[in-house]
C-alpha cells in the first residue's frame, strides 16, 4: 500500500475512480494496453509502473486475460462435484483453448457445472444448452431453496425503495447516536468471518474528526461454497443498501462503495438498478428525506482477486492499487479509503443493520446466543438433498441444519469444509458437538466464517483436497508477506509430489510450514490455510499417513 497512491487516487475520488476506469478500459480486450497505461498514469499523476502493476494483479485485467470469451468455474464445490471436466470439454468444442479462462467460484454451488459467458453465469443443466446461450445470449436463472428456521429476518420481505424510505425515515428521526446505540445494543457481530463487534467499528469511525468518510460494503464474497452474499445482493439488495445508508448516517460518511465481485454479474446489475431507482427518487444524494443527511453510492465491479475479501486489500483495490494487505494499525476506521476514516462491512452485516433499526437492538439481541446474536445465513452445496440458502437462529444445532434443513446427503460424505477455504474441516463425527455460533465453532477447533458448507465426498482423496487448498492459496495470495507467498507454493509442491512421485513428505517440515504460515502470515489467507489442513491431519490421520515418510 502506498500512501502517495492512495492520496493521488483520492484526488479523483469516486466520481472518476481509477479502478473503475481500469475496468472500463479493459472491457474491450480484457486487459490494459501499454498506451492506455501511459495515459492513465499521466491523468492520475502516477507512474506507468503503477498502472501496469495493478493490471497484472487482477485475473480480469492482466495481460493473460486478453481474448478470453468464456470462463469455467474452478471453485471447490465444482471440483468436488466433479462436474467441470465435462463443462470444459463441451465448451472446448466451441471455443479455442486461449478463449477459455477460469473463474473461481461463481456461487452456483447448489448445482455446479458452472461457467460464465459474456456477463452471465450459468450452472446445472445450462451447459447442455451452450449452443443456444452462445447464439441468443439466453438467460437461465438459477433456483434454490430459501428457507428459515427460527426468526425470519434476512430472508424476509424488505422490498423496493419504499422499504428503504421507511427505514431511513425512522433512522433520521432517531438521530445518528440513537441508531448507533441500537446497533450496539443488538450486539451484532461482523458476518465476514472474524465476528468483530459491528457497533464498536461504527463508533470508532464516528469518533474520527474528518469531513470525508466512507462506508464500504465488502461484497467480494469469494469463499468457494458461500453464496449467501450473492443471495442478499440479488434478492435483498434494498436491505443491504439501506444498511450502508444507516452506517453512513451513524458515522457521518457521505459516500458508500458497494464493491461486488466480477464473478457475480447478476448482483452488479441488480444493485446498480436499485441504486439508480434510489437516486431517481432522491433517496440517495443530497439532503435525503429533507434531512441534513447526504449520501451517494457507487457500485464498483471487482476484477478477480480473492484477496479483496480482506478489508485492507479491498480498500487498496478501490483506490486502483494492487490489492495487497495493509498493516494495521492504522485501522480502516482511522485511515481507510483514500486514507480517510472508513467502515468496511460485509453484506450480511449491513443487511442486519437495516432490520435492527427497523425492529430495535434489543429485539435482535434476544435472538441467538449470548455471544452470537441474530440469525445466520447458511449455504448448503449440491451434495445435500435440499441444497440452498437457510436462515437459522444463531445457536441452531449444526446437525439440524445438515440433517433436517439440508435433508442429509445424496451420496456419502466424509467431512464438511465449513466457513470457506480457511474454515475448519469438520468430520461428520463432530457435528453433534457444534451449533451455529462463532463460539461453538471456535471452541471445537473450527471456524464458522461465512457458514458455507462444502461437502467432501467419501471417495474424494483428502490429499488431493489439501493440494487444492494450497493451490487456491498460492493462486490467490497477494504475494506481499513471505510465509504466504512462498509457503503456499512449497506446500502445494510437497503435496503434489507426494501423490505423483516417489516422495514422502517430512511431517516435521510440513508442520513447520503450517506453523510458519499460521503464525507468520500478514492476513487470514496464509494464516487461515493451516486450520483445515491441521483438522485433516488430526481427524484423517490414516488416510493421509501413506504420504508422509
Amino acid at each position: 500500500m502506498s500512501k502517495n497512491l492512495s492520496k493521488l487516487s483520492g484526488r479523483k475520488g469516486l466520481e472518476n475512480n481509477l479502478f473503475d476506469r481500469l475496468g472500463s478500459e479493459a472491457a474491450e480486450t480484457g486487459t490494459i494496453e501499454r498506451s492506455t497505461a501511459k495515459e492513465l498514469a499521466d491523468e492520475y499523476l502516477m507512474g506507468k509502473a503503477n498502472i501496469y502493476g495493478v493490471t497484472t494483479f487482477y485475473d480480469f485485467l492482466k495481460p493473460e486475460n486478453k481474448g478470453k470469451e468464456i470462463y469455467v468455474c474452478n471453485g471447490s464445490t465444482c471440483l468436488l462435484a466433479g462436474t467441470q471436466d465435462d463443462v470444459y470439454h463441451k465448451i472446448s468444442e466451441k471455443f479455442n483453448a486461449d478463449q477459455i479462462g477460469h473463474m473461481c467460484c461463481l456461487g452456483r454451488c447448489h448445482e455446479n457445472s458452472s461457467f460464465h459467458y459474456k456477463g452471465r453465469n450459468y450452472s446445472g443443466d445450462s451447459i447442455n444448452k451452450l449452443d443456444e446461450i452462445v447464439r441468443n445470449r439466453s438467460i437461465f436463472n438459477d433456483d434454490y431453496h430459501v428457507e428459515y428456521y427460527g426468526e425470519q429476518i434476512l430472508t424476509g420481505l424488505f422490498k423496493g425503495p419504499e422499504a428503504v424510505r421507511d427505514v431511513m425515515r425512522k433512522a433520521i428521526n432517531m438521530s445518528s447516536l440513537q441508531c448507533l446505540e441500537e446497533i450496539k445494543t443488538s450486539n451484532v457481530r461482523g458476518r465476514g468471518g472474524a465476528g468483530f463487534p459491528a457497533g464498536f467499528k461504527l463508533d470508532s469511525c464516528r469518533k474520527e474528526q474528518d469531513d470525508e468518510k466512507y462506508i464500504v460494503c465488502n461484497a467480494d464474497e469469494g469463499d468457494p461454497g458461500a453464496f449467501s452474499d450473492r443471495y442478499l445482493l440479488e434478492h435483498q439488495p434494498w436491505s443491504v443498501i439501506a444498511g450502508m445508508m444507516i452506517a453512513g448516517f451513524i458515522t457521518g460518511a457521505r459516500w458508500g462503495v458497494l464493491y461486488i465481485r466480477a464473478e457475480y454479474p447478476e448482483c452488479i446489475r441488480v444493485c446498480e438498478n436499485a441504486v439508480r431507482d434510489l437516486v431517481n427518487l432522491g433517496l440517495l444524494g443530497e439532503r435525503i428525506l429533507d434531512s441534513d443527511f447526504s449520501f451517494k453510492l457507487k457500485v464498483i465491479k471487482a476484477k478477480g482477486a480473492y484477496i479483496c475479501g480482506e478489508e485492507t486489500s479491498l480498500l487498496s483495490s478501490i483506490e486502483g492499487q494492487r490489492a495487497e494487505v495493509r498493516v494495521r494499525p492504522p485501522y480502516p476506521t482511522q485511515k481507510g479509503l483514500f486514507q480517510k476514516p472508513t467502515v468496511v462491512n460485509n453484506v450480511e452485516t449491513l443487511a442486519a443493520y437495516t432490520h435492527i433499526i427497523n425492529k430495535g437492538g434489543s429485539w435482535y439481541r434476544s435472538i441467538g446466543t449470548e455471544k452470537s446474536s441474530g440469525t445466520k445465513l447458511v449455504s448448503l452445496d449440491s451434495f445435500f438433498n435440499r441444497p440452498g440458502m437457510y436462515e437459522v437462529n444463531m445457536g441452531t444445532p449444526l446437525s439440524y441444519v445438515i440433517n433436517e434443513l439440508g435433508g442429509g446427503f445424496k451420496t456419502p460424505v466424509k467431512a464438511m469444509h465449513i466457513g470457506g477455504p480457511l474454515g475448519g474441516l469438520v468430520p461428520l463425527g463432530e457435528i453433534d458437538k457444534i451449533n451455529m455460533s462463532f463460539e461453538s465453532f471456535s471452541e471445537n477447533g473450527f471456524l464458522m466464517g461465512h457458514a458455507s458448507v462444502v461437502s467432501i465426498p467419501q471417495d474424494f482423496p483428502l490429499i488431493k483436497y489439501l493440494e487444492h487448498l494450497f493451490e487456491f492459496t498460492a493462486a490467490e495470495s497477494c504475494g506481499k508477506c513471505f510465509p504466504c507467498r512462498l509457503g503456499s507454493v512449497r506446500g502445494m509442491e510437497m503435496l503434489r509430489k507426494s501423490q505423483n512421485e516417489d516422495y514422502k513428505m517430512d511431517l516435521e517440515l510440513f508442520t513447520d510450514l503450517l506453523n510458519t504460515m499460521e503464525q507468520g502470515s500478514l492476513c487470514a489467507l496464509g494464516g487461515g490455510l493451516p486450520l483445515p489442513v491441521k483438522n485433516a491431519l488430526a481427524h484423517f490421520e490414516d488416510e493421509l499417513k501413506p504420504y508422509f515418510g
Partner: protein, 917 residues
C-alpha cells in the same frame, strides 16, 4: 511521565507511538531483532515477518506472535524477542526465502554485506529442507543503464526498492507486478532501467538488502578499505555523502548516510553517481601559461606560474592601481577558500573588486531579505516541511535543481498539503500542486502585488504580527489598494480568481512555507520581487515560526557560504558594509593592511571595466563565466581585453580557454573545508583522496600567492582558516572545525557553540520587519524588442547536469541527458513548422543558436525554455545584458527571441563560436 513496557521481562520507558521494533532497537541493540523488509527511511511494511516477536499483556502470560516492525507498543506490553517459537518461525521463514534464492554468495557483489546473508546466519540456517520446486533463478540481469543495475534472481520481494522509489523519491518507476509467487519487480512496463523513467537517484539500490538492485559502482560491496563522510559538491541542499575508497586514492562508490539531517539517506544521481569527473583524463594537471604568439598553452612549474602572476599583478597594481585588478571567487569551493580569496583581493591586492556567482543567482535574495529582515538567508530549515500546512514554490524547480529537497516537497504535494506553484513552466511540482499560477516570465512583481491586494482586501492580514513586528505597513497598504487589478491580471496572464484562491490558501494556513529560486531573482525586478515575497510572508505572519518562512533554494553547494565569507564587493566577511568607517577600521586591524572603503565592481561591472580598459587583471576560481554568464560574445570580449586572466580550474572550460595563466585546482573530494548549505548549515567537507598529482587545493594556491605578494598567511588547513573566520564573521563566532560533527551547525552559531534552526523568532535582525511596495515595471528587454522578437525564452536547469556541466558532462550523466533542448509548446511548434527533434534557430538581438526542439505542453504558447549545460549550444549567446536594477543579477529569465527551423541539422562542436554581427 513516560510509559513502561518490557523486553524479555526487563522494564524500559517509551514514548507513545513507537513500534516494538524501534523500542527494542533503542534499548537493546540495532540487531536485536532480525528484519529483511524494514529500512530506516521507509514506512513499516510488514512483508517479511522475520521481525516477529511474542507479546503478552502480563509477565509470562499468554503470548501472541506479532510482527514488531508495524505493531505499536502499548503500556505494560511484555515483548519476548527470542523465544524458541519466534526463533523457529524466523528460521523457517528465511528457509522459505532461500528456496528461491541463488546460493552463490561467495561470488556475489554484496558477499559479506548482504542483509539476507546476515539474517540467515543470525537465525541459524544450515540447510534448506524443501524438495526442489519452482524458482525465479533464471531472471535476466539488467545492465542497460550507465548507473543502475539489477539482477532480480536475487530479489526477495521485500518491496524496499518499490517503497524507496515511492516514499523517498516519489518517482513511481518501480512496482511489484503479477501476484503471489509470480509477483516480481518491474521497472515501468517491464522495461530496462535505461528505457524506464528512472531518475537514477539510487534510492532503490541503497534500499535493496541484497544485490537484486545495485549500481555499476557496486556501492554495497564491502571490498573497500575505508569510508569518508563528506558533503556533496553540487547544489545547495548539502547532502551528506559516505564515500568508499580502496585505500589507494581510488574512489569506489558513494552512499547516503541515513542519519544525515540534510538528506536522511537520500541523494540524487549527481551526488551519488556523478563523481567520476574527479580523476577524468581531462583534469588539468599542470599550471599553464598561454604563449601569446601561438595562443597555445605551455605547461609550466608552479613556481614559474606564481612568478608570472606575481610579476603581472605587481606591475598592474603599480601602473593602474589596485582597482584595475578583480577576483571572482567560487561558490563551489569551501568557506575557507572563499574567505582567503576575498582576503587576498582586499588585503593583499587592496581592492573591493571581489564577487562570486551569487551575483548571477541569489544576489537579489541576499539584498532583498537584508532590506526586509536584516539577514539575507533562509529563515527556516528544510525539516520545517514536517510542520507546514501550505507550501508556496515560486520561480524554482526543485525536483530538477535541488532534487533531494525537491523530492521532499513532492512528497508533501502528493500527500495533499496545500500547495501553490508560481512558474511560467508546468514543472513537475506544478502537476501535483493545488494551484499553479502559470504567469508570463518577468511578471513576478505584478503577481505578488495581486496576492498582497487580495490579502488586504479579503481581510487576511495578520494584524498582530503586523502591529508588533513590522513597519511600513500603512504605506504598503495605501499603494496596494491603488493597484489596477485588471491591468495586472492581463500582465501576468493568470486568472485573478485563481490568484485570489491561492492567496487565501497561503494566508489562511496555520503555517505557510515559501521557497524560491532563480525564477524570482534573475529579473530586472529581482530584488523587488524578493522584498514583496517578504511582504507577503510578514503580512500573513509567516515568519519566525515552524513550518513557515522565506526560504531561498541556494544554487551552488556553497553560494551561501561564499557571500557569508565576503566574496562580494559591497560587504566584507560577515556581511559588514565596507563603506562603514567602523567596519573598515575593524577589517584593517584584523587583516593588518589598509583595505579600501569604496565598493568594488560587481561581476557585470568587471566585464564592462575590462572592455573599456579600466580592468587589467581578473582572477577567476571555478566559474565558467563564458558559458554561464549572459551575452557570451560580450563576456569573451571582456576575457580577451584584460592583460592577465588567471583561471583556477579543474577542466579546460570555455573560460579557461581565454586564460593567460591556468592553475589546476582540486575537487571537493581532494580537499577539506566547510560548505554552508541553503539552510545556513555549515558542514565539514573531509578530504577523501589526495589531490591528483600536479594539482593543488585552491586554498593553498591562494595562500601561496598571498605569501609571494608579501602577506604572511599560514599554510592552508580547514581548522586554521575556520578559526580565523570565527574571529571576524560574527555569526561564525562559535564555529570550531572539531565541533561541527557529521551534521554541522546552522548559523548564527553563538560563542558557546549553540546553533540556530530558525531566524527572526522574536525580533528581526534589523529590529522591525520592513514592508516596501514596488510597482510592476516591464523589462526593457520586452519593451525594446518584443515587436521584432515576439517569443520569450526563459532559462532553466535539468536534473542530470550542473550549471556549465564541466563536471557532470564528464560522468555517466552525459549518457542519460546528452544535450540541451528547446522546450516549445505544440501550438507554437505547429505554427513555425517545427517538429519534435528538429533543429531550431533561436535568434535574439545578441545572437543566435541552433538547438533541438522538444515539443511539450509544459510550456505556454509564446514562451520557450532551455538550459545552458552544453558548450555545443552556448545558449548564453542569446541572453541579454539586462539585470536587476539593485543587485545587478542578470535577467536570464526573460529573453526576447524569434525562432525558425534551422538550416543546419547538427550542433556545432563545443567552443566553436561564430561571430553573429
Amino acid at each position: 511521565m513516560s510509559k513502561i513496557a518490557y523486553i524479555n521481562d526487563e522494564p524500559f520507558p517509551f514514548e507513545e507511538g513507537v513500534t516494538i521494533l524501534n523500542f527494542v532497537k533503542e534499548n537493546k541493540n540495532k540487531r536485536a531483532i532480525p528484519t529483511l523488509c524494514d529500512a530506516p527511511n521507509l514506512d513499516p511494511f510488514g512483508s517479511c515477518r522475520v521481525c516477529s516477536v511474542e507479546v503478552a499483556l502480563q509477565q509470562g502470560g499468554k503470548t501472541k506472535t506479532m510482527a514488531s516492525c508495524h505493531t505499536p507498543l502499548t503500556e505494560g506490553m511484555y515483548v519476548y524477542t527470542d523465544t524458541p517459537s519466534v526463533k523457529k518461525l524466523r528460521k523457517n521463514i528465511v528457509e522459505l526465502v532461500l528456496t528461491d534464492h541463488p546460493l552463490d554468495c561467495l561470488t556475489c557483489e554484496v558477499n559479506g554485506n548482504c542483509e539476507l546473508q546476515t539474517v540467515a546466519a543470525e537465525v541459524g540456517i544450515r540447510e534448506v529442507r524443501y524438495p526442489e520446486g519452482k524458482t525465479h533463478l533464471d531472471r535476466h540481469k539488467d545492465h542497460s543503464h550507465p548507473y543502475m543495475t539489477s539482477d532480480l534472481s536475487k530479489c526477495i520481494n521485500c518491496y524496499r526498492c518499490v517503497r524507496a522509489c515511492d516514499e523517498v523519491q516519489g518517482q513511481f518507476v518501480l512496482t511489484m507486478a503479477g501476484r503471489g509467487f509470480d509477483s516480481h519487480i518491474a521497472k515501468g512496463i517491464e522495461q530496462t532501467f535505461f528505457e524506464s523513467d528512472c531518475v537514477s537517484c539510487g534510492a532503490c539500490a541503497q534500499a535493496c538488502p541484497t544485490s537484486a538492485i545495485s549500481d555499476v559502482f557496486q556501492s554495497k560491496s564491502i571490498a573497500k578499505a575505508k569510508t569518508t563522510r563528506t558533503i556533496c559538491t553540487y547544489c545547495g541542499v548539502g547532502c551528506n555523502l559516505e564515500v568508499a575508497t580502496d585505500g589507494s586514492n581510488e574512489i569506489l562508490s558513494i552512499r547516503a548516510p541515513y542519519e544525515a539531517e540534510a538528506n536522511g539517506g537520500h541523494t540524487c544521481l549527481k551526488g551519488r553517481y556523478a563523481f567520476k569527473f574527479y580523476n577524468h583524463p581531462d583534469r588539468l594537471r599542470s599550471p599553464m601559461i598561454k604563449n601569446k604568439k601561438t595562443g597555445e598553452f605551455v605547461e609550466v612549474s608552479w613556481d614559474e606560474a606564481y612568478t608570472y602572476i606575481t610579476n603581472e599583478l605587481n606591475r598592474i597594481k603599480s601602473t593602474s592601481g589596485p582597482d584595475a585588478i578583480a577576483g571572482i571567487s567560487s561558490a563551489r569551493t569551501p568557506n575557507e577558500e572563499n574567505y582567503l580569496m576575498q582576503k587576498f583581493i582586499r588585503a593583499v591586492v587592496g581592492t573591493n573588486n571581489i564577487d562570486c556567482c551569487a551575483r548571477v543567482c541569489h544576489s537579489p535574495t541576499a539584498l532583498g531579505m537584508q532590506r526586509a529582515f536584516g539577514t539575507g538567508a533562509a529563515t527556516n530549515s528544510i525539516h520545517d516541511l514536517e510542520y507546514t500546512d501550505c507550501i508556496l514554490v515560486i520561480g524554482a524547480n526543485p525536483t530538477d535543481a535541488h532534487p533531494v529537497t525537491g523530492a521532499k516537497i513532492k512528497q508533501k504535494f502528493m500527500k495533499g498539503v496545500t500547495s501553490i506553484v508560481i512558474d511560467p513552466r508546468r514543472i513537475e511540482l506544478a502537476k501535483y500542486a493545488t494551484y499553479h499560477l502559470q504567469l508570463r516570465p518577468g511578471t513576478n512583481v505584478a503577481m505578488l502585488n495581486m496576492m498582497l491586494y487580495y490579502v488586504i482586501t479579503d481581510g487576511l492580514v495578520d494584524e498582530n504580527f503586523v502591529k508588533n513586528r513590522t513597519e511600513g505597513f500603512e504605506e504598503l497598504k495605501e499603494e496596494i489598494l491603488r493597484i489596477d487589478i485588471d491591468a495586472l491580471e492581463a500582465i501576468t496572464g493568470v486568472d485573478r480568481n485563481l490568484v485570489r484562491e491561492a492567496t487565501r490558501a497561503y494566508a489562511t494556513a496555520k503555517a505557510a512555507m515559501e521557497f524560491h529560486g532563480l525564477g524570482v531573482t534573475e529579473h530586472s525586478q529581482g530584488t523587488f520581487a524578493i522584498q514583496l515575497i517578504a511582504d507577503l510572508a510578514m503580512i500573513t505572519g509567516n515568519i519566525g515560526k515552524p513550518g513557515a518562512g522565506v526560504n531561498p533554494l541556494r544554487g551552488q553547494n556553497n553560494v551561501q557560504g561564499a557571500a557569508d565569507m565576503g566574496a562580494q564587493p559591497h560587504q566584507g566577511a560577515g556581511y559588514l558594509d565596507v563603506t562603514d568607517p567602523e567596519v573598515n577600521h575593524r577589517y584593517n586591524t584584523f587583516y593588518k593592511r589598509e583595505v579600501p572603503s569604496h565598493i568594488g565592481y560587481k561581476i557585470p561591472e568587471m566585464f564592462d571595466a575590462a572592455i573599456n580598459g579600466d580592468l587589467k587583471a581578473l582572477w577567476i576560481i571555478g566559474e565558467d563565466v563564458v558559458q554561464t554568464d549572459p551575452n557570451t560574445n560580450k563576456v569573451i570580449k571582456a576575457m580577451n581585453s584584460v592583460d592577465l586572466l588567471v583561471v583556477q580550474e579543474l577542466f579546460m572550460t570555455e573560460t579557461a580557454k581565454h586564460a593567460t595563466v591556468i592553475l589546476p585546482g582540486a575537487s571537493f573530494l581532494e580537499k577539506e573545508g566547510t560548505f554552508t548549505n541553503g539552510e545556513r548549515r555549515i558542514q565539514r567537507v573531509n578530504r577523501v583522496v589526495e589531490p591528483l598529482p600536479g594539482t593543488k587545493p585552491d586554498g593553498q594556491i591562494i595562500v601561496d600567492i598571498m605569501n609571494r605578494m608579501g602577506y604572511e598567511q599560514p599554510d592552508y588547513t580547514a581548522a586554521g582558516v575556520l578559526e580565523e573566520v570565527s574571529q571576524i564573521v560574527p555569526f561564525f563566532a562559535g564555529v570550531k572545525w572539531e565541533e561541527l560533527g557529521d551534521n554541522g551547525k546552522q548559523w548564527p552559531v553563538k560563542p558557546d557553540g549553540t546553533d540556530t534552526k530558525m531566524l527572526h523568532t522574536d525580533s528581526f535582525k534589523r529590529g522591525l520587519g520592513l514592508f516596501t511596495y514596488f510597482p510592476f515595471q516591464e523589462s526593457k528587454e520586452i519593451i525594446t524588442y518584443q515587436k521584432d522578437y515576439p517569443y520569450i525564452i526563459t532559462t532553466n536547469r535539468e536534473l542530470e547536469h550542473y550549471n556549465c556541466g564541466a563536471m557532470t558532462r564528464r560522468t555517466g550523466n552525459v549518457e542519460i541527458l546528452t544535450e540541451d533542448v528547446l522546450m516549445i509548446n505544440p501550438d507554437d511548434a505547429a505554427k513555425e513548422g517545427i517538429a519534435d527533434g528538429d533543429m531550431v534557430c533561436v535568434e535574439s538581438p545578441r545572437g543566435k543558436v541552433d538547438i533541438k526542439a522538444f515539443v511539450t505542453d509544459e510550456m505556454k504558447p509564446g514562451i520557450l525554455s532551455s538550459t545552458f549545460h552544453f558548450p555545443e549550444v552556448m545558449l548564453n549567446i542569446i541572453t541579454s545584458d539586462e539585470h536587476c536594477s539593485e543587485a545587478l543579477c542578470p535577467e536570464y529569465k526573460v529573453v526576447s527571441c524569434r525562432i525558425r527551423k534551422a538550416r543546419k541539422t547538427h550542433l556545432r562542436k563545443a567552443g566553436e563560436l561564430e561571430e553573429v554581427h
